[in-house]
């Protein structure tokens, strides 16, 4: 225990705080700053760790995002200039979905999809070719005339599967 009532900090705790919060001690939780300062006064190793963390901060700062393409802002602003072409108001369902999933929502619906929402029911005879296709599919499946479904799916999904395996191999295992 230190004179001011705070607990002493060891080198490992100091290292963990540097990793979690960076070298700028202004970003550290207030309650650990005094013990960290005390450790820095007495430990050369702690000072070396802090210097290393600062060097990493410097490196990250020095590799900041490069300048944008010269016309990027103009391109973005041109979108607003064409405001007369903007649709409004939009469908309430789309807006609700967008609020729940920022960044994942399709912003501009495909015209076919929009038409589909408001289309009248199709006449009964349009179901005939669909039913025929279904029957053919069932017959092909039962007769074994086609390759096993798993093989076809895996062959088509080769890239996807590789990506999934790569992601699964990541130590984080977290999803955004």
């Amino acid at each position: 225990m230190m004179n001011d009532g705070t607990r002493e900090m060891n080198l490992e705790e100091f290292r963990q705080l540097l990793d979690a919060h960076g070298a700028d001690m202004g970003r550290w939780p207030a309650k650990v700053r005094a013990p960290a300062q005390a450790l820095l006064l007495e430990s050369e190793e702690a000072r070396a760790l802090l210097a290393e963390a600062r060097a990493l901060d410097d490196l990250l700062r020095a590799s900041a995002v490069p300048e944008p393409a010269e016309d990027l802002l103009a391109r973005i602003e041109a979108v607003a200039d064409a405001s007369s072409a903007r649709e409004a108001p939009r469908h309430a369902d789309e807006l609700r979905g967008a609020k729940e999933q920022p960044g994942h929502e399709p912003v501009v619906m495909h015209p076919a999809a929009v038409r589909g929402r408001h289309a009248r029911p199709a006449p009964w005879w349009m179901a005939v070719p669909i039913a025929a296709s279904l029957l053919l599919g069932v017959w092909l499946g039962l007769s074994g005339a086609l390759a096993p479904v798993e093989e076809v799916l895996l062959a088509d999904a080769g890239d996807e599967l590789e990506l999934i395996l790569e992601l699964a191999a990541e130590p984080d295992g977290e999803e955004l």
Binding site: A55, V65, P68, A69, L72, I76, G103, V107, D172, L176
Partner: protein, 203 residues
């Protein structure tokens, strides 16, 4: 909106954008362009990809401003989440672009008077970018939000919709890995090798 200034809060600007105010949209785009590009730069690996991401993000904002709900948090946090989601989607569709991208390298060139120094700085920046590219997505994103965008760990937790403890863990693992990958640039005495090289080059 009658008086738009650089000090107009984001949320007011977004309210105007909802009403189709192109000037408000321009202020927002100018204010946040580099923040969005920073996420694209770190996650997607090239200046062009960062530009494309920024264009897509702002296009979506213009087309669907109602997606932002001020009652649920700050605009800048929501924007970072939108950019991160879109960048992650792009990343999963396509692997990162090569880091030896010439145009990116050109744009990294510092307009410093000493060309040798500028080249060294650009090379160092590319080494850092290559190291960051080796981090898992979530660590990369957390490092970007902390170092490039200056968010606190609490803010990063809100942006990533996770706990502060999870953010601390992501940052800790990310920083440890970066120190390992950049050990030539970050030495235990805390001096950047490039900084020393630069000093030597001027002598």
């Amino acid at each position: 909106m009658a008086h738009l200034t650089d000090n107009t809060p984001d949320e007011e600007l977004m309210a105007a954008v909802r009403n189709g105010d192109g000037a408000a949209f321009s202020v927002l785009a100018r204010r946040h362009l580099q923040r969005v590009r920073a996420i694209g730069w770190r996650l997607l690996g090239s200046a062009e990809a960062a530009d494309d991401l920024a264009q897509e993000v702002f296009l979506r904002i213009w087309q669907k401003p109602e997606a932002f709900d001020a009652a649920r948090g700050e605009f800048s946090h929501w924007l970072a989440r939108v950019a991160a989601n879109l960048a992650t989607d792009r990343l999963r569709r396509k692997r990162p672009e090569p880091l030896d991208d010439e145009t990116s390298a050109e744009r990294l060139q510092d307009p410093a008077p000493d060309p040798e120094q500028a080249t060294m700085k650009a090379q160092q920046a590319r080494r850092v970018q290559a190291a960051i590219a080796q981090l898992p997505e979530r660590q990369r994103l957390a490092i970007t939000l902390a170092h490039d965008l200056g968010h606190s760990n609490g803010e990063i937790a809100r942006i990533l919709e996770t706990s502060v403890e999870a953010v601390e863990s992501l940052l800790a693992r990310g920083r440890r890995k970066l120190k390992e990958l950049l050990r030539e640039d970050v030495r235990s005495d805390g001096k950047s090798v490039a900084r020393e090289r630069n000093r030597g080059g001027r002598a």
